[in-house]
């Protein structure tokens, strides 16, 4: 298939590290897609995460990892009436892996989607 031959140029698969792989497994094992979208696919209950590396991490790896660590540990926020994200009990290493996976996803070239930073 021509498409799968072309994709290495745009999906940047050379950046898939072991950490990115572990992050993808964590993404799946915790059913993140059950609330969030990733590049527009998934549930529509919680924010798009394909570009969250830019939205919440300003495209900086360390900033994003720090944000992720704080965010994941603060859940559930328990603001009355607000949609509630569960506590997934990930350790620091796992949160870093998940951050690396989301960074990888953000850096794939997906024909300039989404239209703006809000996803």
């Amino acid at each position: 298939m021509h498409t799968t031959k072309e994709m290495p140029k745009t999906d940047h698969r050379e950046n898939i590290t072991e950490s990115v792989e572990r992050g993808k497994a964590l993404w799946e094992d915790n059913n993140c897609i059950g609330c969030h979208t990733l590049i527009g696919e998934g549930a529509y209950f919680a924010p798009e995460l394909g570009n969250v590396f830019y939205r919440r991490g300003a495209g900086n790896h360390e900033t994003f990892k720090a944000f992720m660590n704080g965010w994941m540990k603060a859940q559930p926020l328990r603001i009355p009436g607000r949609r509630q994200m569960p506590q997934f009990n990930l350790n620091d290493q796992e949160i870093d892996d998940l951050a690396d996976f989301l960074k990888f996803t953000a850096e794939m070239d997906v024909n300039s989607w989404p239209p703006n930073i809000e996803g």
Binding site: H2, T3, T4, E6, M7, T10, D11, R13, I16, V20, E21, K24, A25, W27, E28, D29, N30, N31, C32, I33, G34, C35, T37, L38, I39, G40, E41, G42, A43, Y44, F45, A46, P47, E48, P76, R78, I79, P80, G81, R82, R83, Q84, P86, F88, F101, F104, T105, M108, D109, V110, N111, W113, P114, P115, N116, I117, E118, G119
Partner: protein, 477 residues
Amino acid sequence: MNTLKFQSQSVAKPYFIFALMLFTGQILFGLVMGLQYVVGDFLGDAIPFNVARMVHTNLLIVWLLFGFMGAAYYLVPEEAETELYSPKLAIALFWIFAAAGTLTILGYLLVPYSTLAHMTGNDILPTMGREFLEQPTITKIGIVVVCLGFLFNLGMTILKGRKTVINLVLITGLIGLAVFFLFSFYNPANIALDKLFWWFVVHLWVEGVWELIMGAILAFILIKVTGVDREVIEKWLYVIIAMALITGILGTGHHFYWLSTPEYWQWIGSIFSALEPLPFFAMVLYAFNMVNRRRREHPNKAATLWALGTAVMAFLGAGVWGFLHTLAPVNFYTHGTQITAAHGHMAFYGAYVMIVLTIISYAMPKLRGIGESSSPKAQVVEMWGFWLMTIAMVFITLFLTGAGILQVWLQRMPESAEALGFMATQDKLAIFYWLREAAGVVFMIGLLTYLANFLVDRKKVAVTSGMPDTSGLQTDT
């Protein structure tokens, strides 16, 4: 009263009954999620949204599979003019599938998903945690085994009997369903490839082979209720499935717009998926044409209503609402918004829920030993169920479309600095979500009304199943 042409058709009955039970569960969880959209922390600890959604969508898929299987066990022997190859295998597979499905749903509800993944050995062959394919790997293997047994049973029946176009289209669709499901076992570390092949299951099911299944069931019902010549119906069926496959297969391109895939997919996807409404429009013309040219007045008015309804609603939901957001320049803004949810709801209801309810409506009176149709009174109740559910679904779709348009306007259209964030936008959509939930309650009332139609004739069933000539029937098991 023995109303089945072939005794083995009776194996369809438990499939239909179990399908309707799961359908009820699906709607219940839909109401929970609908409420969580506006009261965010409702049951937040007991049933987090992701769990409710997984149960809602997986119940839908599984009950439609039960419905398709029941439909096949019912119509294949009648078309082939021979008994089913092995009724015992069909019943055994029913229990295996029902047990596996129930255990999977209980697993979703009772343990955290990551624990379920760990317990079922997802590390060994990771297939879980992808939308609609959340089932533990072992459940997926179970689905493959059940499908193989089911296809073997039907295949042997078709081989020894009459080969009709309807049977061949149906078995082709069912084989395609099993084959494309195999892509669910392919889960590469590269998320772009993962997504690309994930669509081989999801898209090629609902916009490909499932349309063959729908076409075959609809053709069978139209022959039965209208008495129009088989040759005429078959010609329409050929045209419809040819259009469905040509537009549906290349229409897969509309999922490859934003996926690290070459830009030519924006052209291929837009052009071919813009043509995807055609087979559904043909189905509307065909259903109404056949009913207008009917050569008999079938006493089962409700089944005819479902057959016409499924054609119309599939055209609106899959055809019109699909077209609304399928062109690449439009999809750039609407991708992954409530517009997608609106389309998903009406398309699934119109095309697949309604076709299964069509064959259940036609077959159930015979399976229950009542006769050609249930009593006029029961049919009136059933038709109330039809209208309540269908109108409720129209409103669910309209409210979600309203929410989606506003979401695109607030969150997607403005430049980054001006655009409203996701959660802030969701707050602005609350009125649409409340109205959707109200329409959802009406849908549930419609479903309960529909189910009540089976109670109207229960005395008839009790009387007829006690008669000597039904002693060989399995219909009351």
